[in-house]
């Protein structure tokens, strides 16, 4: 059961793919409250990868480290910090804890290279991320909405998506 701490992963990634790493700056998730206890900054220890190098970093994790099981791709919308964070989680088929790669892309232009052509496991994860967050995955063979209908406007999991309102209720009768 291989175990790898985020620091180890970062060190190995720094030697293998030095250009891929970005220094992560701590994020403020919400605007700091005017009074009361400050919530603190979000600063995960996992390596943050430059979007252009995501595919090579992920394939390096798979082929060199042997973490061949892509378990999860989670998108987090940090509205206040103005970025999306994509959390790629890999496991080793013999067991052990995960290794995580993080990618941050600006909110106004969320474009990430797709893993799907190299790693089909990413297919539905990426389609889900596209559907709910509007993250564009370049190179994905079938990047269509997966949950919402194709004509749907907006990305419902974004933090600035209106939680209430009936903008979409009348859609069907019009069309």
């Amino acid at each position: 059961m291989p175990e790898m701490t985020p620091a180890e992963l970062r060190a190995r990634l720094a030697t293998a793919l030095p250009a891929a790493l970005v220094e992560a700056e701590p994020l403020a998730i919400t605007p700091p409250p005017a009074h009361g206890p400050q919530p603190g900054l979000f600063n995960p220890p996992d390596p943050l990868v430059r979007p252009d190098y995501l595919v090579s970093a992920a394939l390096w994790v798979r082929d060199t480290l042997g973490y061949a099981y892509l378990s999860d791709i989670a998108v987090v919308d940090y509205l206040y910090a103005g970025c999306f964070e994509l959390v790629y989680r890999f496991y080793h088929p013999t067991g052990g804890s995960s290794v995580v790669l993080r990618v941050r892309v600006p909110r106004d232009e969320p474009v990430v290279p797709s893993l799907t052509p190299h790693w089909p496991a990413a297919n539905f994860h990426e389609r889900e991320a596209f559907d709910l967050f509007g993250v564009e995955f370049t190179g994905h063979p079938f990047l269509r909405r997966i949950y919402m209908w194709d004509e749907f406007e907006g990305f419902p999991m974004r933090k600035d998506f209106p939680r209430q309102g009936d903008k979409y209720l009348g859609g069907e009768s019009e069309g």
């Binding site: 603190g40 999860d72 496991y91 089909p120 539905f124 949950y147 939680r163």
Partner: protein, 369 residues
């Protein structure tokens, strides 16, 4: 030459064997599948968005609705994620009760999953009815403990709602006497059945390398011959205290997945027996943490996963320091296990599609979220 034309058939969204509102856009040449596109989202309710508007505890009953067959497993994964995020300790007895409940869930899920798969093959409900009988008994037990049969909502951060009622353990012991008889009978009924063999062997083959690259998990992955079980690979809760085996398949076809499920029921029964042996008495700690109604974890993120009966169920939570999760992501096993469906079905007959789908064992509540 006659002019031939490929036929496009919509299997679903309203179809008897799509296990919910699931649509497969199938291109068939005669009866042979040329291409298949899974289309879903008919049950999409933006579960994650709802969860981000709720407090941590309020989400617990919503997780029940993900995979409504295995609400206990969903509860477990979510409770673990929040406990990791907030650093909550769970008393030992509660851990054992959790394991007990999740293993019972596994048995009931596999019993009905096998039944549904055989139903898709065209059996007129009999294996399903036998499975449902055991399921009912387990649901009775769940009802005793949690108050509900399906939407159990039984786990809390740092424990469970309430201790097992006194009549629970005797009834469970009775049930454990029935389980081997049920599993043996199911094997007698189906294992050597020539019709089932014809329908299951060599159908929907998913080779191990392909299975891994598709990121499938649970019995589908193990059926393909990869002994990856989260309970063993990254033991959580108290799973490192039990002896149990991991069954794997040889070829990765429908028959392997079917056999793996049957064997997993036996292993779950083994775990339950060990739980009953090791279960600490009630003095071990207060297992209903009423005080933890308003969890306010520090800023950070946490991912917790369990081996749910359908595969790896994970919850990814990001906390911004408030009482509501900032991000709540479900890694749903049914959803990811659908990824290779098109590849598994290509080249087989229309009748095989439903069997392959049945052998993946999906629940639309979880796929669509």
């Amino acid at each position: 030459m006659l002019q031939t034309q490929e036929l496009q058939v919509n299997i679903g969204p309203q179809h008897p064997s799509t296990h919910g509102v699931f649509r497969m856009l199938v291109t068939v040449d005669g009866e042979t599948v040329v291409d298949l596109k899974p289309v879903f989202g008919y049950l999409h309710r933006n579960h994650e968005q709802i969860a981000e508007a709720n407090s941590y505890l309020q989400n617990m009953p919503y997780t029940d609705r993900l995979d409504y067959f295995n609400s206990m497993a969903n509860n477990h994964a979510y409770a673990m994620a929040v406990e990791r995020l907030a650093g909550i300790e769970v008393p030992e007895r509660a851990e054992y009760i959790r394991v007990l409940m999740v293993e019972l869930t596994r048995i009931l899920n596999h019993a009905s999953a096998v039944g549904f798969m055989i139903n898709d093959m065209g059996a007129w409900q009999t294996p399903l009815a036998f499975g449902m009988r055991e399921r009912e008994k387990i649901l009775d037990l769940f009802e005793m403990a949690s108050g509900a049969r399906l939407m159990c909502n039984y786990f809390r951060f740092g424990g469970v709602v309430r201790d097992l009622p006194p009549e629970f353990i005797p009834n469970l012991r009775e049930l454990l006497r029935a389980l081997p008889a049920y599993i043996d009978e199911l094997e007698r009924l189906l294992r050597d059945n020539e019709i089932l063999l014809q329908r299951a062997i060599g159908i929907g083959i998913l080779p191990p390398e392909v299975a891994l690259s598709y990121g499938v998990s649970g019995p589908v992955l193990r059926g393909s011959g990869i002994p990856y079980d989260v309970r063993k690979a990254e033991p959580y809760s108290v799973y490192d205290r039990f002896d149990f085996d991991v069954p794997i398949g040889k070829v990765g076809d429908v028959y392997d997945r079917f056999l793996v499920r049957i064997e997993e029921m036996r292993q779950s029964k083994r775990i339950i027996e060990q739980v009953l042996e090791q279960l600490p008495d009630a003095k071990g700690g207060h297992i209903n943490p009423k005080a933890r109604q308003n969890v306010r974890p520090p800023v950070g993120d946490a991912y917790a996963r369990i081996e749910s009966p359908k595969g790896e169920l994970g919850f990814y939570l990001v906390s911004d320091g408030s009482t509501k999760p900032y991000r709540y992501k479900v890694r749903a096993p049914s959803f990811i296990n659908l990824t290779p469906l098109a590849d598994m079905c290509r080249g087989y007959k229309v009748a095989d599609i439903v069997v392959i789908l049945g052998s993946i064992d999906i629940v639309m509540g979880e796929v669509d979220r």
